[in-house]
């Protein structure tokens, strides 16, 4: 038993050291080097501090992330409350739909905004046609809107769990002692869900700060941290890997601090999870109930509208960047006329990555959940590091690490798979350890007691018992790998262009129709597996967050 755990732990630590910590160390190292000569310097940081552009970049990123967090909380908390305590028609469906934005690619939502409200957007041109001018959505407004609409489920899920974890008797006790309903909400309910709000909010902050795709689509020329790191590293004209390294270190520092605080509040949430009976739905007047229903459904529909818009627009004909009202499959024809390769690549890479992630993540999750030791504690910690590292930065580290030397991986498919696996590993670990926590440990002991070795028990008893949960995790990893952009855009090589890369280049260029078709394909690729197993997904997500 012990030996099995030790072997898994050591193997996982080695893997993470080679493909996560070593590349990150190289990024850190690059940030202290003089570009070209390789001497040690603090110059890269000094240059950032002196540069108005880079300070603006940091400022914009932090500002957008903070604003998105505030807005996500502003819509997420009421929505969670309504879902928990008000009898809303279609609640189960609403819950499923509310979790969708987390796994749908956010840059597609950003692109939808461009298609609708951009320079040549449908709504913009229509309104302009009838003489109503509308403001630009590029830059901060658009980015904040997209982050809010795609990330608010991070607030909803834990806060909903928090509201549901408040034992009915606790609230009844407070009421019985003479508290009015608002007083009880303020003194009993809010303190209990506060850690959940903070944990969810900080997750929004981290994701918004790291996100590459949304500012890449909506920032135009405004400086944004994630985009600038990419340009500094991979830009054709103004490449400066050392500066990219320094910005990366700053970004990681921000996300790491946020993550540590987030974990802290997540830990505090435990005190509220032993509710015996969920509190009753609030008795509301029909008017209030109707309002709650409209608001809840409104939020969720608004967050999904961009995706449906993209699906519809992809079926319309473009003349250059200008949309016409004629139906046609021309966009898809363009997308597939070049080659099926990108789509095939997307499907293949996502499949390999998903299987590999779960194969590696499940034993780690098992060991972390079952065999508490100092070593597995370390593994648990290192396994969470990818949360704090944006895809772009990880990809940069992987390139620096495996561009030369004994192990050359750049230019092939393996480096893409490695990046996906490392990025999705925390999720796989979390979800499988959550599943293991629900398994009675005496089942495994009974098997061992009856004469089956621990490793065989894991393979023939534990894994089958975890299977249904693991399938959910597998599909979620598959979806997010298929729509991965930030690491892919740095790492892809000519033979391994994916659908996300096609879409990115189409947006950068003038292929609006092509981009819309690629975006639609991405939505379908992610949404179909989700709908197939949506009930499992719901559970998974809430356990992982």
């Amino acid at each position: 038993m012990k030996r099995f755990a030790t072997i898994v732990t050591l193997a996982a630590l080695v893997l993470l050291a080679v493909f996560l910590l070593y590349p990150l160390a190289l990024v850190l190292d690059a940030s202290f080097r003089i570009d070209g000569t390789g001497g040690l310097t603090l110059g890269n940081y000094a240059a950032i501090v002196k540069s108005r552009y880079y300070l603006g970049s940091i400022g914009n990123s932090l500002f957008c992330a903070a604003l998105a967090t505030a807005f996500a909380c502003a819509i997420g908390i009421p929505l969670a409350f309504c879902l928990a305590r008000i009898d809303i028609p279609g609640r189960a469906l609403l819950l499923t739909l509310a979790s969708l934005p987390l796994v749908l690619p956010s840059f597609v939502s950003a692109y939808a905004l461009v298609l609708l409200f951009g320079h040549a957007g449908v709504v913009t041109t229509t309104l302009r046609g009838i003489g109503i001018p509308i403001g630009s959505i590029y830059g901060v407004p658009g980015i904040v809107i997209v982050f809010t609409l795609t990330l608010y489920p991070y607030v909803v899920m834990p806060v909903l769990a928090g509201f549901q974890a408040v034992d009915a008797s606790m609230e009844e006790a407070a009421r019985n002692l003479g508290g009015s309903r608002p007083y009880v909400i303020r003194t009993v309910l809010l303190p209990i869900v506060m850690p959940a709000i903070l944990a969810g909010g900080l997750l929004v902050f981290i994701e918004a700060l790291e996100n590459f795709g949304v500012p890449a689509v909506l920032a135009e020329d405004r400086p944004f941290l994630a985009v600038d790191i990419f340009k500094l590293f991979a830009g054709e004209s103004d490449a400066n890997p050392a500066a990219a390294g320094a910005l990366s270190v700053l970004l990681i520092a921000c996300t790491a601090i946020a993550l540590l605080v987030q974990r802290h509040y997540l830990g505090k949430r435990r005190f509220s999870t032993n509710a015996r009976s969920a509190p009753a739905k609030l008795p509301l007047t029909p008017g209030l109930r109707l309002t709650a229903t409209i608001v809840s459904w409104g939020i969720v529909i608004a967050s999904l509208l961009p995706f449906t818009a993209v699906l519809m627009i992809s079926l319309l004909r473009f003349r250059g960047p200008v949309l016409t009202w004629e139906f046609g499959l021309g966009n898809y024809a363009t997308l597939l006329s070049g080659s099926y390769r990108p789509l095939l690549n997307t499907l293949t890479l996502a499949s390999i990555a998903a299987v590999a992630t779960m194969l590696i993540g499940a034993p780690i999750g098992y060991v972390v959940a079952r065999h508490r030791s100092r070593l597995s504690g370390l593994l648990d910690f290192v396994g969470m590091v990818p949360f704090a590292v944006s895809g772009t930065i990880l990809a940069i580290g992987l390139i620096i690490a495996f561009n030369s030397g004994p192990l050359i991986l750049t230019g092939g498919w393996l480096i893409l798979v490695i990046a996906y696996v490392v990025r999705k590993l925390p999720f796989a670990i979390r979800s499988s350890s959550a599943i293991v926590h629900q398994l009675d440990p005496s089942l495994e002991e009974a098997s061992i007691n009856l004469g089956v070795t621990p490793s065989k028990t894991f393979a023939t008893l534990t894994v089958p018992l975890m299977a249904s949960g693991l399938v959910g995790g597998l599909v979620l990893v598959w979806i997010t790998a298929a729509s991965e952009l930030s690491a892919t855009i740095v790492l892809y090589a000519s033979g391994w262009v994916t659908t996300t890369v096609v879409m990115y280049h189409a947006i950068e260029g003038t292929g609006a129709g092509l981009a819309a078709a690629a975006a639609a394909v991405l939505i379908l690729v992610t949404a179909i597996p989700l709908l197939l197993i949506n009930r499992r997904i719901n559970k998974q997500e809430s356990t992982v967050i």
Binding site: M1, D440, S442, L443, E445, A446, S447, I448, N449, L450, G451, V452, T453, P454, T457, L461, P464, L465
Partner: protein, 353 residues
């Protein structure tokens, strides 16, 4: 049939000495119970024998062969878990066959042995069922069949009946006992239910804070508890502190609770503080005739059907409990004086802690 010898077994968790220098000899075919309050180390000791908790120091031998270094899956013990631990993804028959498969028993033999084991636990025909179609008591029988069928060197039970309701518990404990005797297996049984321990054990070890207080047959454990802890743990005895008087060659008077008790034998030097254990059934309601007597006042009467329990107050206000038969007519009201007769041999004195 296996004899188990445990020598100087110790296990600590941080500052807690869960099992503290325990030595035990368990005989062939014996049902040996580990009894004690929550947290006294029963489960830890049992799991050390099963191989799920590492031995820190000391040794465990089955028939003279040391097994404490063997991995759990090679110890040949059959464990019955508190929460049954029936594999939900296997049928009842597959559950029972699990250990036989691990031992590479031929398929034909497995089938017949599984059928026989299910018959033994009165579940013939339940083989193809899935575990979620069974009740708690049936699941526990499957767990027992699964442990029996491999004919293990030792059967281990960790509070196997504590998840069942009271009625089923009393039925099942008899079944467990009969199966164990019929198969002649050595068994170690963990419980904190003293009645269960007394009812089915050959011998009982009473544990306290990781140490053994007393190992004896149920009768001797109950009648002759060697420590105040054992006396108090077995049967809700009345513990009354007092001061020993002068030994008269047969009995010792003990001044306690504002009155005097007579205790058989020389219990302590005169003037020494002692703790008396007065079992509720050692006191009988009397109307003035013979034996040693103590006077009390009725405080409360609990009528429990076959028996009734009287709560009485001794002269200094100490509360004691007295058992009486349910049929015994009583028209006493609270406050009424009671004369309680007892046999001095039935009162035990311990040195005061």
């Amino acid at each position: 049939m296996t004899a188990i010898r445990i020598e100087n077994l110790t296990r600590t968790f941080g500052a807690v000495r869960a099992v503290d220098d325990i030595s035990l000899d368990i005989r062939h075919g014996e049902l040996f119970t580990l009894l004690g309050p929550s947290g006294c180390g029963k489960t830890t000791l049992l799991r050390m024998i099963a191989g799920f908790v590492d031995v820190e120091s000391g040794s465990i031998c089955f028939d003279g062969r040391r097994i404490d270094a063997l991995p759990a899956h090679r110890r040949d013990t059959g464990m019955v878990f508190q929460n049954y631990a029936i594999f939900p993804n296997h049928t009842v028959a597959e559950n029972v066959a699990y250990g036989l498969r691990a031992r590479k028993v031929p398929a034909a033999e497995i089938a017949s042995r599984v059928d026989k084991a299910l018959e033994r636990v009165r579940l013939a025909g339940y083989g193809p069922r899935s575990p979620h179609q069974l009740s708690g008591g049936q699941l526990q029988r499957v767990a027992i069949a699964r442990a029996l069928v491999i004919e293990p060197a030792v059967l281990l039970f960790d509070e196997p009946l504590s998840n069942l309701d009271a009625q089923l518990r009393t039925e099942m404990r008899i079944e467990v006992r009969q199966l164990q005797q019929a198969l002649g297996l050595t068994a170690i049984y963990v419980t904190h239910d003293q009645e269960e321990a007394l009812a089915i054990s050959d011998r009982i070890a009473v544990l306290r804070r990781g140490k053994i207080e007393q190992v004896d047959t149920p009768e001797r454990i109950y009648r002759m508890p060697q420590t105040a802890f054992v006396a108090e743990f077995l049967g809700s005895t009345n513990m009354v502190p007092g001061i020993a008087g002068a030994f008269d060659g047969r009995n010792t008077p003990v001044a306690a609770a504002g009155t005097e008790f007579t205790v058989r034998g020389e219990v302590a030097a005169p003037g020494a503080p002692v703790l008396l254990s007065v079992r509720p059934e050692a006191l009988r309601l009397r109307d003035g005739s013979g034996g040693s007597l103590v006077h009390a006042r009725l405080a409360l009467r609990e009528f429990l059907g076959p028996v009734q329990r009287l709560h009485a107050t001794l002269p200094d206000g100490t509360q004691i409990r007295i058992s009486a038969l349910g049929g015994q007519a009583l028209d006493l009201l609270p406050g009424a004086p009671l004369s309680l007769a007892y046999d001095p041999a039935q009162i035990t004195a311990y040195p005061a802690p």
